[in-house]
Every structure is written in structure tokens, then in C-alpha cells.
């Protein structure tokens, strides 16, 4: 099997200011499927085409932002191995018991030098996508509820020490660097896009003075047409839109950035090129960051650099 180690982004836990308002937004407007609630009051969602029990979890809090972001790894042997590799690298790890999150096995948790809490896990219950595994239809009615992305695709996180984070992902977790934007002096990376498979990115980071900040969680759409439809649904529901619909130069993905009712940015994303681990990294100079962000408009929207939760 070619894809081993870390398989994919598996879950994000995000803080919201008003739980009921957030549930209405994520369920009825974004069109995620609610799959459970736990004793802590957290609400669990998945995208309609995802097979695991949950991928996006919200928790009511007095501040917005990201609690943690988790990756699914191949199996428990891989989980043990990656945990000891992280420790050998000098990072402290913690085991969160199975069941602390609904339908989810033991998690290995660690904090990056950027201040973000990351998790690895090997088990989450498969609840399916509502389509049989034998003679499956290409989609179900769930595809028509709201924006209805097909999966949690990636996250972009803002914090300090991106160079150290880069080393942890490439030297310990088996990711490779797909694209990067240089700092204005050209001596370091201002932002990095990392992949653990053949997606154009599974996680990205940008250098920022404040630790642990969320720029956006991204949801995958099936087509550019579905991204435009997402924009229509955002306007019908007076969702606060940041940028787009447009196309990124970085990744070549089509995009809309918008905010949930608590000010957590999210993205509806489609496309992107397909890298392999042996491909050379693509580099953007800082003065071309505008095209990297918004290729048609060639504009470095100020909110992209400054607005986070």
C-alpha cells in the first residue's frame, strides 16, 4: 500500500460563541450532517460523503477559535510509532482516552511551536455516507442540503515558529512541502502548504506573532459550479463573505472564504493540482503573494493577513 503513516485530516474542534446559532449555521446553511452530542455539550458533524462518524466538532465558549486539529493515521501500530517519534524529536505528547470524543479511539495530542494543538488517532467509527458499499449510487439526497461539502479538506493556521513546525511535519510526520511563500527578505517562509498524500495540501501554516490562531478550516466541494452555488447560499443566508468566489494561485484551488456566526473563517474549496512526494516545491515571492491568494484580482486582501480567530 502506497499511502501509510498519516492518512488525512480527520477532525477539527472549533469554539463558537452561541451554540444554537452555530448548529443552525453548520447544519442548515453549510449543510453538514449532525451525528451526535456529548455530555460536555459538544455537537458533532460530518460532511455528507465522509464515512467516519465526525470531522467537525463545535463547542460553546466565550471566545472563538480552534481547540485542536486531528489527523487519522493508518492503524494503532502507526499511532504508537508516531508517538514515540514525536517524543524522540523532543515534543511532549499526551494520550486522550478512547471515547473522550464520541466514536473516536485513543488520541495522541501534542502542541506545536506555533501554539496549535494537534492530534493523531487510528480509530473512528465508520458510520458510512448513507450510500451502500455494494452497487453504490454516486450521491444521496444529503448532497442537496445547504452548501453540502463532501469532506473536511485542510486547515490554515497562523502562529509563530513556522520553520520549526515545517520540520516537525516533514521530519517526523511524513508530510512534504508542496508550495511556500517567502518572507519579504526572501530568507524564510512566510507561509507553507504541506501534504501527507496526493492532495495539494492537508495543512498549511503562516507566520504570525500570536500563537494558536485559526485562519480557516476548509471544506471540499465537487466542482467550481458547486463553489458558485455555495456563494449563492451564503448570500441568501447573509453569511459574512471575505474573499471570492475566485481562484488561488497557490494550490490552483477555487475558493470562497467566509465566516461562521462566531467569526471563525471557513472555506469552500474545489480543485488544486495533484502533487507527488518527489515533486519540487513551488515558491512564491512575497511581492507575488497577491496572485497566490487571488489569481484573477492579483490582490493581497488585507483581511487575509490580519483577521483570524
Amino acid at each position: 500500500m502506497a499511502l501509510t503513516g498519516v492518512l488525512r485530516p480527520g477532525h477539527a474542534q472549533v469554539r463558537v460563541l452561541d451554540l444554537n446559532e452555530a448548529v443552525r449555521f453548520y447544519r442548515d446553511v453549510l449543510g453538514l450532517v449532525e451525528t451526535g452530542r456529548d455530555a460536555q455539550g459538544r455537537v458533532y458533524f460530518k460532511c455528507w460523503d465522509e464515512r467516519d462518524h465526525n470531522s467537525y466538532v463545535i463547542r460553546e465558549s466565550d471566545r472563538a477559535g480552534l481547540d485542536f486539529f486531528g489527523f487519522r493515521v493508518l492503524d494503532t501500530a502507526t499511532l504508537d510509532k508516531l508517538e514515540s517519534d514525536l517524543q524522540a524529536y523532543g515534543l511532549a505528547t499526551e494520550r486522550i482516552p478512547a471515547g473522550e470524543m464520541l466514536a473516536t479511539g485513543e488520541r495522541v495530542r501534542f502542541t506545536l511551536p506555533s501554539g496549535h494543538v494537534m492530534e493523531l488517532y487510528a480509530e473512528k467509527d465508520k458510520v458510512g455516507n448513507g450510500i451502500p458499499l455494494v452497487n453504490p449510487a454516486p450521491w444521496s439526497k444529503a448532497r442537496d442540503n445547504g452548501i453540502a461539502p463532501i469532506r473536511l479538506d485542510h486547515a490554515l493556521l497562523y502562529g509563530p515558529n513556522v520553520a520549526q513546525v515545517h520540520k516537525i511535519f516533514t521530519e517526523v510526520l511524513g508530510f512534504y512541502l508542496v508550495e511556500r511563500v517567502l518572507t519579504p527578505d526572501g530568507n524564510a517562509n512566510a507561509a507553507i502548504w504541506l501534504s501527507c498524500g496526493q492532495k495539494v495540501h492537508d495543512i498549511a501554516f503562516a507566520e504570525y506573532p500570536e500563537p494558536g490562531k485559526l485562519h480557516h478550516c476548509s471544506f471540499l466541494m465537487e466542482s467550481w459550479d458547486q463553489v458558485l452555488r455555495a456563494g449563492d447560499i451564503m448570500s441568501m443566508n447573509q453569511v459574512a463573505v471575505d474573499i471570492g468566489p475566485t481562484r488561488h494561485g497557490v494550490t490552483r484551488g477555487c475558493t470562497i472564504y467566509a465566516w461562521d456566526p462566531s467569526g471563525n473563517r471557513f472555506e469552500t474549496f474545489f480543485g488544486g493540482h495533484l502533487p507527488y512526494p518527489d515533486y519540487e516545491t513551488m515558491t512564491w515571492t512575497f511581492d507575488n503573494f497577491g496572485q497566490g491568494l487571488d489569481y484573477p484580482q492579483r490582490k493581497l486582501h488585507e483581511t487575509f493577513l490580519t483577521v483570524v480567530s
Binding site: A64, P184, T306, S309
Partner: protein, 105 residues
């Protein structure tokens, strides 16, 4: 009945009903003055100090509004709904930046 909002820093005035936040009304009218970000009380860029007037608020992030802020009318404009004519000054800004201050220049 729309109320009149005055941004003291710029002398900008615009109409805002009690159903609309100070920030959305400003942006919808194509006015400037208060930085516009998430519009959900989460990012903090739209912080203002209300100098005069009555208003209601909706929940906003404690990362950006302390009890002391609240007591002194230092609030996030996207979560403030006017109940009378109102005047304010802008105290938030789009100041933090990718790569620290270097990228912003």
C-alpha cells in the same frame, strides 16, 4: 426608525436601524472608518469605544473584550445594535500581520 451613527475619528455619519449592527450598516452603505473583519464578534478588528448613545449587544469574544472594556463601552462594532443616535471612536485596527510588522509595510 434608523438611528444616526457618527464616527468621531473621520466625521463619517451613517444610518443604522436597531436590527443591524454598527459594522454591517457601515459596510452596506459603502462607508469606511471601522475595520471590517469577521462580522461575528470573533476576530476583534472592529473594536470601537461608544462615546454616547444607547445600544444592545450580542455575544462577543472575551479575547478582545474584557469586563473593563465592557464597562467603558469598548466593544466590537459587529455586535452592537443601536437603540438611539450614537457616536463612537475607532480603537481596533488591522495591525497584526503575517511575518510580524515586516509584511505590512
Amino acid at each position: 426608525m434608523p438611528h444616526t451613527v457618527s464616527i468621531e475619528d473621520t466625521g463619517e455619519r451613517y444610518a443604522c436601524s436597531s436590527e443591524e449592527s454598527l459594522l454591517t450598516a457601515m459596510a452596506r452603505m459603502g462607508k469606511r472608518g471601522i475595520p471590517v473583519g469577521c462580522r461575528g464578534g470573533g476576530c476583534g478588528v472592529c473594536k470601537v469605544e461608544v462615546l454616547a448613545g444607547d445600544f444592545e449587544t450580542r455575544v462577543m469574544s472575551r479575547d478582545h473584550v474584557s469586563d473593563d472594556d465592557r464597562a467603558h463601552g469598548r466593544l466590537l462594532a459587529c455586535r452592537v445594535y443601536p437603540a438611539s443616535d450614537l457616536s463612537l471612536k475607532v480603537i481596533g485596527k488591522l495591525h497584526k500581520n503575517v511575518c510580524g510588522s515586516a509584511a505590512g509595510r
